[in-house]
Symmetry: D2
């Protein structure tokens, strides 16, 4: 008789609760008990134990955040801390641990595997979508919807006042949220870490100036990934204001992008991965992440999820570059047409 | 120099506007003019002509419905009507027609191809997702979110009053919306056209009675696809009330499922397919639908989109059956645990 | 040292949870304990006791429904049942009971007062807004927003397909939701129980026919209050279809109107009334409802809340009649202008 | 035969479009023509003329922003500019001007009145609610809902990570949005310009430290009005972090608070005021704002709307102070209870 432990670790992501529900319900169907530790790895070390049962899972899927709570816990990189966690897991007779989190959490899992004999399964849960080995991570789709809806709101003000906005979105070191937000909000420009060459200030400024001539009565929205522009969105807005003579307003979307009820895509993804994690445990897998590639559930060695870069889809980058580019060529076409 | 015409046809779907934007912007970048006809095939026949230009596409992507308007138009099955449409298209010097719609619209396109020499490209736009040759259709993801959010609301009342609800969702003859809504709303049961064998009344009634014993204080939600139960959701609710002795409330979600702002997934899908449609025209394709399979854009002969059935993903059906089944076995497990 | 009991009774309404929070937090500040009974009056009789403490109130305000659960309980009209409730309340040393609910719940409160000596305070909690003595009830504002958003969705399909929709909204015997939904969704017509004379079929049909001539390409939406038209919204849609020759689609909004997160107005209203209820108890009031009139908290004898009819605001009725009327006169004005 | 002009001026606010619809529809019913100038006062001076007709008003009410576009226009304070505007209005045979905006816009209206003979009517349209003479302004209710929903999202992350957030909301120099957002989101603390004495850093820090002891596993949210704390929300967060030893995260909500579809309350308010503005013109009023006090439409001399301060409702301030205060006394109560 197995006993599985679950933690959510790192930044919370919408859909984590639905994932826990799927793990718990699937496990109990197989006669396996599930327990949780609150606040991720810290909770294992500090023994923040919490029993998990299907009866309590009935209404959790629709909620944002994680009812198991999460934490960032850099101390877990130390050998001694990982050993303490191993001891705690053994004390609780845990034979398998499911870690729902991002790349930091998976590094922690790989670290723990050096000191603990149980099975370790990762499930990709991060709004940033920056894990290799899976097309998509839990929370990403909802975060994009949230960013897009926020940008839709800003667009209305921008249109009413004919303003330029530089909107900063999350993504840590990856442009996934930025790219999807730019396409879905029909942004006029985007600046993402993966773009090579990076858009330069003069080029952006020229673009804005051209747009003001072509559409003097309209809005112009630039999507900027966080951690990219020196000084951040306020510095960029200031520089563009100087370079264009047009006031460019900075708008960091901030922490709202992380919260909110998961959309259907995230709930369904989360439940698929949760169910598959239990199957993987039953089949004896360990040190793998359960991912989704081309609509199929796959198992990927944990270290391959964080050692490799995950590129943006070139066709989506080109899609946005193409659609935003037309703004400044269309006038000519009209004349010829 | 080409001239492309676009129509939206059949039931409207969120994302159609974003698709039109992508077609128009991409075409103008290639030096191609785009025009629209309002109200689908009827608009071609009645010459409801509307020029389309990138300048007017700046803010359409975020809106639900279709600004080009749509229509159901059974008269188009007649030879004479299709011939009239061919003549009109020729009068306007149209060399390619893009039809955004569902299977009825694609049958219309195949019919038109008998009488018109231009290129015809279909783009799957229907909330029902019942087109073979593409993993997903424009509007489906938003419709699922809308249904799910509505069910989340009903869940709150159902929990407060400890009630049973039978919720009818759209889907014409397909269970895609039903299945995705059932999973994402953590429904206790579902009845979809593709289920074989179909859930029977006594089985459903037993299930409800067991749940009332296990969770007397809680809600119970059944998702029912439309056009499936004889007499519809009200008849089923009445029969279940009689069979269980528990009042079962009927709740048809109705037309709200069709409207609303497209979510990010639908906007991005729509723009991809719209851009790809223009590429397909430039490459000389005709009588094909542009679809998305395993995250790749594909071309599928039109007749293969409506002549073949599109099955539900078995892993998703099993996911929901597994997760909903645990409700009635969990008590036992707890005792053993 | 007092001990207060709280119940939520009748149909659940968004904001009930925020109201409970305000009662609990305010009471504990005054050194008063609060307990709840689940499922309203039935819970008192069946002793579904639940302690309530500020620590558990931190996150409840933002949720729809009622975590204390509610019930309709016609048995409470019997003398014996009310006596049982009185005994239970005495057994628990309750000195005051707060009832959050609608007119049926307040009739129950007045009935209970015959058999119980404690203080009884009503708080208006019903989406229907049909209680005299208060300008607004908890849940009404959110229900109107929910209905309006649903109608906004239907409007998009209606515009795309140039369709007529008859949309049925809640309200029991009162037109508040209908009136506010009609104004806020810019409906073309409304049928409310308070209208005198009631709109007749030929008049409605003429109106629709005129609109189809003036705006052949557009939508037309009629708001119908429930429990008003013989045979309901489907019968009306059918009759209008026959009378106009235009297909009129029936769209009952149903139970989605009751659920959902409370909007800010409902949360703030609920907390004001909850706080005032505790003050009223401390001041020795009983058999009164705490209401809001002209932005001031008032106490109203319970029987005056359900013995009197609450009229619609004539200025709002006239506002909608004026705004919807212009649709058919505007063409003429344009010519003269 | 009269001819009315309408402008929207200053920061855009949700509901402005519904207000314009009501003005246009009501006027045409009375046989009066309505025209607009885009971008507020600047549009009058620059002759950005736009005809307005009921046919075009059918679908505008549900949109955020203002389709008439707005602007800030400090140049209007100059005599010459106001004279130009007067000349333009006369050139267009305008006999009355309706200005939808905030206090800056009404100062502009009072200024214009010195140089123009027509009637001038103000309608309060600003999310900040900082106009005396009306209980509420168009856009305020929606802005509060938007802020509240954003804070609900942040709350989820804050709960998951047990974090302290300092959330900055709009309001220019007034605490209305801050107060309503704090109540409706059940914030743990608030800092508003009207509070006297202002909360001091040591007091806030103590409060946070106490809360961390009482609820170590939970979130803590402070609502801060913009333009209040020296250095803004980031400076406050930094100071609190130092003073408490707990990381306090800054979260400015920013421009999202201005956009979005108006809620029902704002649409209904906007239409009432728009209709009343036309009545006021017909009755010969001028240099007044149309406001709503105690649910009645009132006319207030323009200068009284910006010369007087509008206080926060003391009962709402006390409501929030009471509800948030209990967090730190409740433990004691429980022991005694």
């Amino acid at each position: 008789m197995k006993r599985i432990a679950v933690i959510t670790s790192g930044g919370d992501a919408p859909g984590m609760n639905a994932c826990i529900r799927a793990i718990v319900n699937t496990a109990y169907q197989e006669g396996i008990e599930v327990v949780g530790f609150r606040h991720g790895y810290r909770g294992i070390v500090d023994n923040l134990f919490q029993p998990l049962h299907p009866d309590d899972m009935r209404l959790v899927s629709q909620r944002g955040g994680t009812f198991l709570k999460s934490a960032r816990y850099p101390e877990f990189r130390e050998v001694e801390t990982a050993q303490k966690a191993a001891t705690q897991l053994n004390n609780h007779d845990i034979s398998a641990l499911v870690v729902i989190g991002g790349d930091g959490s998976f590094r922690g899992a790989a670290h723990l595997a050096n000191y603990w004999q149980g099975q370790i399964i990762g499930i990709p849960g991060t709004i940033d979508n920056d894990l290799a080995g899976t097309d998509i991570t839990i929370g990403f789709a909802t975060a994009v919807d949230t960013a897009m809806e926020a940008i839709d709101r800003v667009r209305e003000t921008a249109e009413a006042m004919a303003r330029v906005f530089i909107i900063e979105v999350m993504g840590r070191q990856a442009g996934f949220i930025g790219l999807h937000a730019a396409i879905s909000s029909a942004a006029e420009a985007m600046i993402l870490p993966e773009m090579d060459p990076q858009p330069k200030l003069p080029e952006l400024a020229d673009n804005i100036k051209q747009a003001r001539v072509a559409f003097p009565d309209s809005s112009y929205i630039v999507i900027l990934s966080e951690n990219l522009w020196p000084g951040g969105v306020h510095a960029l807005a200031e520089s563009l204001t100087k370079a264009t003579g047009v006031t460019c307003h900075a708008c960091p979307l901030g922490h709202i992008q992380r919260g909110g009820r998961p959309n259907a895509q995230d709930r369904i993804l989360a439940m698929q991965l949760g169910q598959a994690a239990v199957s993987a445990i039953l089949e004896g897998s360990s040190d793998v992440m359960i991912g989704l590639e081309n609509e199929h559930v796959v198992e990927v060695p944990l270290h391959l999820t964080f050692d490799r870069d995950k590129p943006l889809a070139p066709r989506l980058v080109n899609l946005q570059l193409g659609l935003q580019g037309v703004n400044f060529t269309s006038k000519k076409v009209r004349k010829n047409a």
